[in-house]
């Protein structure tokens, strides 16, 4: 078996000092194998996005061990790291510069990494995400939410990364648009042999995209399981069971049964 594409050991992230110290990610360890889609689910504030930010280098204040294809990472990341690992953010309205054209947005990573051949790369990236070249000289406000998320994916893909970190990539989108974006991500993964680490609060999305899932709660990785096991209800923790039940819709008896379990 090959080395994990990404490996985390005892990763912790905390904010604040002394008494006000809040532990956002608490002793998290897991592996993502090459070519895998690994999911992380949990409710807001469970630390799933903070963990992604630590992995991609946006947050430098973390402890523990993060390895990329076996190589230990420090708090600061070299340029080559970002060619290898890219991230797609939740909010397509906030993650694109409002006064840059799509062309400028896509040209920037090419310039930073001195890849050259800008024209061809931008056109290919646009084709790849199904937008077409007509979009190249438009501004983000001229695009719909789904189209913007395609631009964000194109920007990540333009560096030809091997690992893509997806932070709630479709939670701002309508169901029909979400389906298109998820299908695009599946296609890209297949054609490019990508590895995904997908964070979401929507179990349906994670179940559709991933094989293995980590369940997070209050900064901790509560359990690691497979989508198949979740489907069959073979999970260890009550919290995971509740999360699965609640994701499948409303049932009056559920609220009764949970009365005893404290909500955070």
């Amino acid at each position: 078996m090959s080395a994990p594409a990404l490996s985390l050991r005892n990763v912790r992230v905390a904010f604040g000092e002394d008494e006000a110290r809040v532990s956002a990610v608490d002793d998290v360890s897991f592996d993502v194998m090459p070519g895998e889609s690994h999911g992380l689910v949990g409710e807001s504030g469970c630390g799933k996005s903070t963990l992604l930010r630590a992995i991609c280098g946006l947050n430098r204040e973390w402890q523990g061990e993060i390895r990329l294809e076996g190589e230990l990472l420090g708090p600061r990341r070299p340029l080559a790291f970002h060619r290898h690992v890219q991230m797609v953010f939740q909010d397509p309205y906030g993650s694109l510069h409002p006064r840059h054209t799509i062309d400028a947005i896509l040209a920037e990573p090419i310039a930073i990494h001195r890849l050259g051949d800008t024209n061809r790369r931008i056109n290919e990236a646009l084709d790849q995400v199904g937008l077409g070249r007509a979009f190249r000289f438009r501004f983000p406000h001229q695009l719909s939410g789904g189209q913007r998320q395609r631009v964000a994916i194109a920007r990540a893909m333009i560096l030809e990364p091997r690992l893509l970190l997806l932070d709630e990539p479709t939670s701002a989108l309508d169901v029909s648009i979400q389906a298109e974006v998820l299908n695009l991500l599946s296609d890209l993964k297949r054609s490019r042999g990508l590895t995904y680490l997908l964070v979401s609060h929507d179990l349906g999305v994670v179940a559709h995209m991933c094989e293995r899932v980590g369940v997070m709660r209050a900064g901790r990785l509560l359990e690691e399981t497979t989508v198949q096991a979740m489907r069959e209800g073979r999970v260890e923790h009550d919290y995971t069971r509740r999360f699965i039940e609640a994701s499948q819709g409303y049932d009056r008896t559920m609220a009764h049964r949970w009365e005893s379990i404290a909500t955070p």
């Binding site: 169901v175 179940a207 559709h208 499948q248 409303y250």
Partner: protein
């Protein structure tokens, strides 16, 4: 169906734009009794606008027309503004999506709930305070006395939403319009908030209009479902029958939703049909 609380007939909402008039709601008719009615649709389908028009609070630039909007037989289209103020909040109430923007940031949350009672029930501050505390308890806030004195930024999203629900319920309305009341909440908190609404419908005989984009949630929570597309109701059915929906739009929505219990190789992509605009 029970005696209707709300009747809406041929509601239309239009906006002026640079390219002429754009119709956001195009002839919507429905009735709500003492039951849970879900209105589902994607963004821009006109579901929120429909809810706002019932309370006569459309955006200022909207042109609203309808054959009839009536609450317990009383015509709301011709009611005076003073009459509407007596109805809004007191008899028909509305819960909005995001507590972050709907609570006053510089007022203690308990006082906001108490104020909502006092506006409609003249009486002592003391009574309003007691009612507010009682209502905070009813929406399952564990320590109402402590929470009463907190400011909105000191409470979590889930708690903020429950406070807002308390605020809307304390004047004891007969009809509640809930516009995406749970989409800012985590799934486990969501279940508890829905249970509160569920109990009120069963216990107090409240009518509930539940606006949501989540088909699966509406199918499991509501009694009846109206599916909106491009400003029209394209399908109306019992919530339990949503799985056997007939309209191609409803079916496409269902097919596009990823679910844990129904694994699919690929999600169906919606092919929008121009005929749906007229259906």
């Amino acid at each position: 169906m029970s005696e209707p609380l709300l009747e809406v007939e041929d509601l239309r909402v239009a906006f002026e734009s640079a390219h002429g008039q754009v119709e956001a709601v195009r002839g919507v008719s429905f009735a709500v009794g003492r039951e849970k009615v879900g209105i589902v649709g994607e963004s821009g389908s006109g579901k929120t606008m429909t809810g706002r028009c019932v309370l006569r609070i459309p955006p200022p630039t909207a042109h609203v027309s309808a054959k009839r909007i009536a609450f317990r037989g009383e015509d709301l289209l011709t009611a005076s503004e003073a009459r509407m103020r007596a109805i809004r909040g007191r008899r028909i109430s509305m819960i909005l999506q995001d507590p972050k923007f709907s609570l006053n940031p510089v007022m203690r949350v308990g006082e906001q709930v108490a104020e909502s009672f006092r506006i409609h029930h003249p009486g002592s501050r003391r009574e309003a305070r007691d009612r507010a505390l009682d209502m905070l308890g009813q929406v399952r806030i564990r320590d109402p006395k402590r929470v009463y004195g907190l400011y909105p930024h000191e409470v979590s999203g889930g708690m903020g939403q429950r406070i807002m629900i308390a605020m809307m319920l304390v004047p004891a309305p007969e009809l509640l319009i809930a516009d995406e009341p749970t989409s800012a909440l985590d799934v486990t908190v969501r279940t508890q908030v829905l249970a509160i609404l569920d109990d009120l419908v069963a216990g107090r005989g409240l009518g509930l209009v539940f606006v949501s984009h989540d088909l699966n949630l509406v199918a499991t929570f509501c009694d009846r479902v109206l599916v909106m597309y491009a400003g029209r109701i394209v399908e109306e059915c019992a919530a339990g029958d949503l799985g056997h929906a007939r309209h191609p739009y409803t079916r496409a929505l269902l097919a596009a939703t990823p679910r844990l219990d129904r694994p699919r190789e690929r999600l169906a992509v919606m092919e929008r049909d121009a005929a749906w605009l007229e259906a």
